[in-house]
């Protein structure tokens, strides 16, 4: 990197320092200090108030709902991610580009519109909502709606991690296993799954973090019933709008820790693959 560059291929020291200073000042102001704000505000009224905000029954029920939602969404999207990457990376077929584009589609739809489509479908005046309500099945303003909206928003995450990984790995090991007499599922569980386990793990971590942190889409379908259909991010919003700032930041600090954890996992993954590339 820099150390290997001869002097005529880099900038004068003063320019280097100036650029580094401006870049770091920008990151400090835009990324690092906001991160510090979360914890400073969360502990402003002491650790007792922090613990009380998290032990509040409404906060606990929000934590529970958030975890239940993630426990449904993450496995579903993980299975989809594996299936989609298997079809796309291991086979050639017409319309592959179209399929890849469609899988990425949820990323370019606003979270609010993502929530809205489920209201149009399952709401009291929606396409199938009245039919379901007659049979006492509530989707909107209930857990199924929250799960569906969260699944939509986090839909591409696992598939996106796995498709390029599987494409770069090729099929040689699988073909060897099949030639030696393994059946399809044996090949998948003994060969393919171990090959992609780190990418799958990272995709799952990303998907879990996004599904626990999703705000806009869930906000549309949740109905904001306190203690019943409020997830953690919605609970943060309510506390903040009620001027309970340190409680809002205490709950937000949980979500921030989760975000930091995903960054650490990402760092470990890159360190691992970097080490393997150098070896």
């Amino acid at each position: 990197m820099d150390a290997t560059r001869p002097r005529y291929l880099t900038e004068p020291a003063a320019v280097r320092w100036l650029l580094t200073f401006v870049a770091l000042a920008f990151l400090l102001l835009f990324l690092f200090l906001p991160l510090v704000v979360v914890f400073a505000e969360a502990f402003r009224n002491g650790i007792g108030a922090y613990a009380a905000a998290l032990a509040d029954p409404i906060a606990l029920s929000a934590i529970r709902l958030t975890l239940v939602t993630a426990a449904i969404v993450v496995p579903a999207n993980a299975v989809f991610g594996v299936a989609a990457s298997w079809a796309i990376a291991k086979f050639d077929f017409r319309g592959k580009n179209l399929l890849t584009t469609l899988i990425d589609l949820p990323f370019s739809v606003s979270p609010v519109i993502a929530g809205m489509v489920f209201v149009l479908l399952f709401g009291a005046h929606g396409l199938v909502g009245p039919y379901l309500l007659e049979r006492d099945i509530r989707v909107i303003f209930a857990l199924p709606g929250i799960v569906l909206a969260t699944t939509f928003v986090t839909f591409p995450l696992v598939a996106r991690e796995l498709i390029p990984l599987m494409q770069s790995q090729g099929n040689d090991e699988e073909e060897a296993a099949l030639t030696l007499g393994a059946n399809g599922w044996q090949t998948f569980f003994r060969i393919s799954l171990p090959k992609i386990k780190w990418g799958l793990l990272y995709g799952i971590v990303l998907c879990a973090a996004r599904s626990m942190g999703e705000f806009g889409a869930v906000s549309v379908v949740s109905g904001h019933v306190r203690g019943v259909t409020n997830t953690l991010p919605l609970h943060v919003e309510i506390l903040y709008n009620e001027y309970q700032f340190s409680a809002a930041f205490a709950v937000a600090s949980l979500l921030t820790l989760m975000a930091l954890l995903t960054l650490v996992v990402k760092g470990l993954m890159e360190w691992r693959s970097g080490r393997r590339a150098n070896a």
Partner: protein
């Protein structure tokens, strides 16, 4: 549908199962729900549709969303390029930590980003208290929206430019230097044309993300109609008033406009810069 598979001696099993599950899941979770937008719009009369879409409040929200997203994308193009350059080319303490931190806006839930930035830039906040006496009001103004959108879009340019910068051929810069170009000339004539397409791609991604962004904006925006109300918020307000037709009409126009814009940027601008660089 094995008939679509090209036979080139592929002996791997499971195409039918994997493809079938993929298409069914994609249809149920994404395509059928999204198609309700078209169905709902089709049930409106042209007059209803036009009244919602041409309402001054709608037009103002759309204009604000596009301009604020554009401003944030431009800020990110400049600073994202700078950050990527510094991370790839220079050494400084805690570089790995700083590099990892760049992804924070991807990982941080938007509601958290929203309340953090509002607290940071409000009149008695950490930075706001120094800005407001100088007449710069960030929180509860359109400027606050640009700040929030810059935050959420920050990683896109950095992460798109970094790999390109890493793979640049050092010999081209060497040749330029030997032929007598100054460092600034080398940057402008040799390096910049090679990293410009990636910078544009990154800021296009940031722009697309910013258009739909909701959580991080609504806390800092102030949300005054005709002043600081973004399109996703207007859709949300229509839904809360059970005006599903109005919400759908705005959503459809907004989605189509963003897709069209992204298509234009991708196919016109990127192709032209790629042609120039090549």
């Amino acid at each position: 549908m094995p008939s679509g598979v090209k036979s080139r001696g592929n002996i791997l099993p499971g195409f039918g199962l994997a493809m079938g599950f993929t298409l069914a899941y994609l249809g149920l979770i994404v395509l059928i729900p999204l198609s309700t937008i078209l169905l709902k719009t089709a049930s409106m009369t042209w007059g209803q549709f036009w009244d919602t879409v041409s309402d001054p409040r709608t037009l103002h929200a759309c204009r604000l969303s596009f301009l604020a997203s554009l401003a944030a994308a431009l800020i990110n193009a400049v600073f994202g390029l700078l950050v990527a350059w510094v991370l790839e080319r220079y050494d400084f303490p805690m570089k790995r930590f700083v590099d990892g931190l760049v992804d924070l806006p991807f990982a941080l839930p938007t509601a958290v980003a929203g309340i953090v930035l509002t607290t940071f830039y409000s009149g008695n906040g950490w930075v706001g208290r120094y800005l407001e006496p100088r007449g710069i009001k960030v929180a509860y103004t359109p400027l606050g929206i640009v700040v929030a959108l810059t935050f959420v879009g920050l990683p896109f340019v950095v992460r798109t430019v970094q790999p390109v910068l890493r793979d640049l051929d050092i010999q081209l810069e060497g040749a330029a230097a030997i032929l007598g170009a100054s460092r600034l000339q080398t940057f402008r004539r040799v390096v910049l044309p090679q990293i410009l397409p990636a910078t544009l791609t990154g800021s296009t991604l940031a722009f697309a993300r910013a258009l739909g962004e909701y959580g991080s904006v609504i806390f800092i925006a102030g949300n005054l109609p005709m002043r600081s109300e973004i399109t996703p918020l207007l859709i949300m307000i229509k839904l809360e008033q059970f005006d599903y037709a109005g919400a759908t009409a705005i959503a459809l126009v907004f989605l189509l406009a963003s897709f069209l814009l992204l298509f234009l940027i991708n196919h016109v601008v990127l192709r032209r810069t790629a042609a120039q660089a090549g």
